[in-house]
């Protein structure tokens, strides 16, 4: 054991290190917020103004004048809710089938579903775009949703969750005359609600922050999701104006950061348990 004084030193060092890294991690968030609420001269002041000389909302006004942020919110929400909802519903039934039944070609289908993890949209975007062009889904919300109606990650996690549900429970429900669909929806779903919530959270996060596919498939301004809105906010207005840009960044990240601040313990545990993000 180390002598008391040395241990105290170690403790101090630990706190210094941990807080120092925390400052580095938080600096971008702080700088985003400060730039967004500082009057223009403060933003380019030297030495930097860590605390604005006065608070202003003018940058938010400019940001809202230049882009339809509420529409982007709505688009992001619709895409996230529909893709998470359908992924959970389809994943619940597929996960149940893979966990409970034995059927021909079971492993083939399972590997096929997991195999899609190896062909992310980065690989398939070219042909997917051509396909959607043929069925008229390019530049529509359906187009953004197309590759996200189901999730291989979701099917896998839900199957793992259902595997630990005792078979007796399912058999008992069958004896009572419950149909399979009813068993899945009224018995299995509540039993694995922690798994479902974790999967839902990770898929929501993935969908909310997704950029590549929406920016490919969307052309219309009023169909942009938040990440597309923020990425394309920079270009068209030639003169770079950091105040409104940071205000726009605050607008687009605030809901997720607030949700995270409230549920961080739970979100971090979900990531640690599943090892994956959506």
């Amino acid at each position: 054991m180390l002598p008391r004084g040395l241990r105290g030193m170690g403790r101090l060092l630990l706190y210094l290190l941990v807080s120092g890294v925390a400052v580095l991690m938080l600096l971008p968030f702080y700088w985003m917020l400060i730039t967004a609420v500082s009057p223009a001269p403060d933003i380019i002041a030297f030495p930097p103004k860590w605390i604005p000389s006065r608070l202003t909302l003018e940058h938010f006004q400019t940001a809202f004048d230049k882009a339809a942020w509420l529409t982007y919110y709505w688009n992001s929400t619709v895409v996230a809710v529909v893709s998470v909802g359908s992924s959970l519903l389809f994943g619940l039934f597929a996960g149940y089938a893979f966990a409970v039944y034995r059927f021909p070609l079971q492993n083939v289908f399972f590997l096929l579903i997991l195999g899609t993890l190896m062909v992310p949209v980065q690989v398939t975007s070219v042909a997917l775009y051509v396909l959607l062009a043929q069925i008229g889904w390019v530049d529509t919300v359906l187009g953004i949703l197309a590759p996200n109606f189901a999730s291989a990650f979701g099917v896998f996690m839900i199957r793992q969750g259902i595997k630990i549900v005792p078979m007796d429970l399912i058999e008992a429900a069958r004896m009572d005359g419950a149909g399979e669909v009813r068993i899945v929806l009224t018995i299995i779903a509540p039993l694995i609600k922690t798994t479902l919530a974790t999967v839902a959270m990770l898929l929501f996060l993935g969908s909310w922050n997704d950029f590549l596919w929406p920016v490919i498939v969307i052309n219309s301004t009023d169909l942009r999701t938040l990440p597309v809105g923020i990425a394309l906010f920079k270009d068209p207005y030639g003169n770079i104006n950091y105040g409104p840009l940071m205000a726009a960044t605050v607008i687009s990240t605030a809901p997720m950061l607030i949700a995270y601040a409230i549920s961080q313990k739970y979100m971090i545990r979900g990531v640690a348990l599943t090892g994956l993000k959506g």
Binding site: R11, L14, L17, A22, L24, M25, L26, L27, P28, M32, I43, I44, F46, P47, P48, G91, F93, A94, A97, Y101, R102, P104, I113, T116, M118, V119, P120, Q122, T124, S125, V126, A127, Y129, V130, L131, V184, L205, L212, V215, I216, L226, P227, A231, Y242, L245, M246, T249, T253, M256, L257, Y260, A261, Q264, K265, M267, I268, V271, A272, L273, G275
Partner: protein
């Protein structure tokens, strides 16, 4: 008598099994159909397109064999994009992984406000890459960006960061370390908490120093976690796009161009779908290679335990 009842049982069992098989197929049908249409078919189709010259607007598809792949080999822009992607993968994966491990070791002891700090370190992970990169784009501004301002305050000359073809890629890597290190920390922390305390106690009694305990107990027992982190991060790193799009757009002079960005440009700005499909196949081969590595390694650990 017993014959007929046995027959009835078997008939009943067969009927039940047939019904279960029917249910199974109905239950997996939505996922299989959706993935078949929107994932598997486009994957196969991309492979096919890589052998074609695709003129989408005219609806013309001309078979050109391996010409797209031959072009990849001689295209200096793609070569640079491939090189940059490799540099990015080779840098980000170990840097973010090792820093994540060191932070996890710190967090494996008990101290005040631990949960708060953990939440802070993880916060970049829940922020959209595009929005976070936009903030860093401003921070990297050579004149007014906070990074150069801070450097100036401590007497270091301003750096050109994203404006310089030698510094832009490192600047993107620094951003990505900030973005991903919290994730690696959380995963390593989960791994660390799975190591029995007795191992450390026994080693301490035997007189092993902290450094020695780290190399002889922590590192080997975390091997499965490390494999997972290496593989997961590499697969994601090969697909890097968002931060490059926002921070540099591939510039200056292609010094930060990456495979997915080039693919995006070839397909959706130049409409050269066949060539982009060939690039996609290169990306796929990288992902496939890593997945096979993962398979081999996970088999190795199954034997080891």
């Amino acid at each position: 008598m017993s014959d007929t009842s046995d027959g009835a049982v078997i008939r009943c069992w067969r009927m039940l099994r047939a019904r279960h098989i029917l249910h199974a197929y109905l239950f997996i049908a939505p996922v299989v159909v959706l993935f078949g249409i929107f994932r598997v078919a486009p994957a196969v189709q991309t492979l096919l397109y890589s052998f074609y010259k695709v003129e989408l607007l005219r609806g013309r598809f001309t078979f050109i064999g391996l010409d797209n792949f031959a072009r990849l080999l001689t295209d200096p822009i793609f070569q640079q994009a491939a090189r940059n992607t490799l540099v990015y993968v080779v840098a980000i994966v170990p840097i973010s992984g090792i820093l994540g491990l060191l932070l996890a070791v710190l967090f494996n002891s008990r101290f005040r406000f631990q949960e708060f700090f953990k939440a802070v370190y993880f916060s970049p992970m829940v922020t959209s890459t595009v929005a976070a990169a936009m903030v860093w784009w401003w921070m990297y501004n050579p004149q007014f960006g906070i990074i150069n301002v801070l450097l100036k305050l401590v007497g270091i000359r301003e750096q050109p960061w994203l404006m310089s073809s030698s510094m832009a890629l490192p600047a993107i890597i620094i951003f990505s370390v900030w973005k991903t290190v919290g994730y690696n920390m959380i995963i390593y922390l989960a791994g660390l908490q799975g190591i029995p305390v007795q191992f450390y106690e026994a080693a301490t009694i035997d007189g092993a120093s902290a450094v020695r305990r780290f190399w002889r107990i922590t590192v080997p027992l975390l091997a499965p976690t490390t494999t997972f982190i290496l593989i997961y991060n590499s697969i994601l790193a090969f697909q890097v796009f968002d931060q490059v799009f926002v921070l540099t757009g591939g510039g200056p002079a292609n010094s930060t161009n990456v495979v997915v960005l080039d693919l995006y440009r070839q397909a959706f700005q130049r409409y050269d779908f066949g060539y982009a499909a060939a690039e996609a196949m290169v990306l796929f081969v990288c992902i496939l290679g890593i997945t096979i590595l993962q398979y081999v390694y996970s088999k190795k650990y199954e034997i080891a335990y």
